[in-house]
Symmetry: C2
């Protein structure tokens, strides 16, 4: 099957046609005309078979996930996702797989308001690389460098579910059918927090997504804002699936290793952000409007020798270096 044919059949008409899109798939490049008074946020993420997903993963779910992981970067900037280009590398052109993948892209892109304006299909080991472009009001982006001493630290939803899902698929643990489905859904069809990210534009002082694990990722806020963070160990939001994992295995809920999936698991496309204490009510109101739970998990403190401190009942826990190992490629 020829490249032109793949693009024609499976990559056209993905997502809404924005009026600011002047030319989409079919020329040497797409053309967009951003509105005056806007900035563009641009981000790229790649997923490789055998590294980021199982080779036999449902193509519809894979399509959702490559969009979701990129949209999560837009959410973390408070940007409205608008356009994407997809580089799709396939071992062979399997029309059945492509049709399912394309349907998944259509469904998820429509829901997220994202238009696919460019694509490149090549032959090789299965991988997907998506570049996403979103719009922002001028100078309003939620960057990592604005956290202030005294700010509260929040995370959305629950942590560690995707890592639980991966452990389930790898046969490392067992959970009830409901909890298993919840954790595997968290891994395979994460929900980017775009609506909520955009609602934080005038509230959050810093924001990022914790896709590489909470501890490893929030260190970036510390580095770029020149602060440290105290995380309240008991406050970390856990799903009922995570609670079942703790209970069924008789784990000590006060042990750091018990919360390893939540602290360092990765693949959670949740936001961690900071806001001034006087904005706490606004934070919870916006979350409520987005039907999303948000938990205050810590606070920003003056920069100390470590970036992140885990605290239990007000006392700092001693962290081994293995306790703060976030997900790393090439580690």
């Amino acid at each position: 099957m020829a490249e032109f044919s793949i693009i024609d059949q499976f990559c056209r008409d993905i997502g809404p046609k924005h009026s600011s899109t002047k030319l989409d798939i079919g020329d040497d490049a797409a053309i967009i005309r951003p509105d005056h008074g806007t900035e563009l946020a641009i981000s790229v993420d790649t997923m490789v078979s055998g590294v980021h997903f199982f080779e036999d993963v449902c193509p519809k779910r894979l399509a959702h996930k490559i969009l979701a992981v990129n949209l999560s970067d837009m959410a973390a900037m408070g940007a409205s996702p608008k356009w994407a280009t997809l580089a799709l590398t396939l071992p062979k052109a399997d029309p059945e797989w492509l049709a399912a993948f394309s349907n998944g892209l259509k469904t998820s892109a429509k829901r997220f308001g994202l238009q696919l304006i460019g694509g490149d299909t090549t032959q090789g080991p299965l991988s997907l690389s998506l570049t996403v472009i979103g719009t922002l009001p001028l100078s309003k982006a939620l960057v990592r460098s604005g956290a202030k001493v005294g700010d509260d630290v929040y995370v959305t939803n629950t942590l560690g579910d995707a890592a639980l899902g991966l452990a389930l698929l790898n046969g490392k643990l067992e959970l009830s059918p409901d909890s298993s489905a919840h954790a595997i859904d968290a891994l395979e069809t994460p929900e980017p927090r775009n609506e909520f990210g955009q609602s934080l534009l005038d509230i959050a002082t810093s924001c990022l997504d914790v896709s590489d694990g909470l501890i490893g990722d929030i260190e970036h806020i510390c580095s770029q804002s020149a602060v440290s963070i105290e995380i309240d160990f008991e406050s970390l939001p856990l799903s009922s699936a995570y609670q079942e994992y703790i209970n069924a295995n008789s784990l000590d809920p006060r042990s750091i290793s018990t919360l390893n999936y939540a602290l360092n698991g990765g693949d959670d496309y949740e936001l961690a952000f900071t806001a001034a204490p006087e904005d706490a009510a606004k934070v919870f109101n916006r979350a409520n409007e987005c039907e999303l739970s948000v938990t205050r998990v810590g606070q920003i403190i003056e920069r100390e020798s470590h970036k992140v401190y885990l605290c239990s009942n007000g006392a700092r826990l001693n962290l081994e270096s293995s306790d703060t190992k976030s997900f790393e490629h090439f580690s």
Copy 2:
């Protein structure tokens, strides 16, 4: 070696810092603020080891090529390249390879005026996917749909050299050292025609790059402009290396198969474009200013049963389907 470390060491400070770049590598997304009155051209291209390049290719040359193939799409739109995101998938983090690759990126990005504003490094089989963003004056892009009956058809520089280079590296033919170097350079370090593409904004009626082979690619102009094209077989511009290939192998210069590399070879990052006959002097003047050779190779005719006709001394040649097979992935 950790992902953060790879990005920090090898992906920062690639290319000029444009004043319209508000945030580059280091956050969840980059932020750009396009000038009012401009449009953006966006394109993506992927190169996979063993498909698009030899695994042991010089990393500096590989860096040049992934930029050049993408910039060629910008040239074909008449856009000024400004920003890029790079998804780099590597089997392992080899600091020596990465340093050479990064140096190559720096050198070529600086020369092309392209700033790397985003990157993602993942582990997997070696491949590179670059999304490039360029700027254009409003509604001026060189699209494929504007060719008019009577327009002249031009190509830049010479055709078939990259395919000759590939045949040389595959041991399928031999040429003199000078010709070999020329052909392998054409394959590994192609020169995108951005300056010339931009100079065509008020002249060309349609334009594309012929990276998949002249015949296959100009069919897109026919489809999108609803015309056919007559190509003058004797006018196709050939390098002295190509002439040496013809002479050394005693090939019939009037045989279509002799010109197969030039007609269908692919990996030539030259422009094919159309312009009204009265603009011929302008075309050659602009080419001259860009120190680039341009050749008139045919003309646009009313749409007939075939899209492209090869003509010799005014008579149409009979084409076998194998004569017009352009480079296709998954073919």
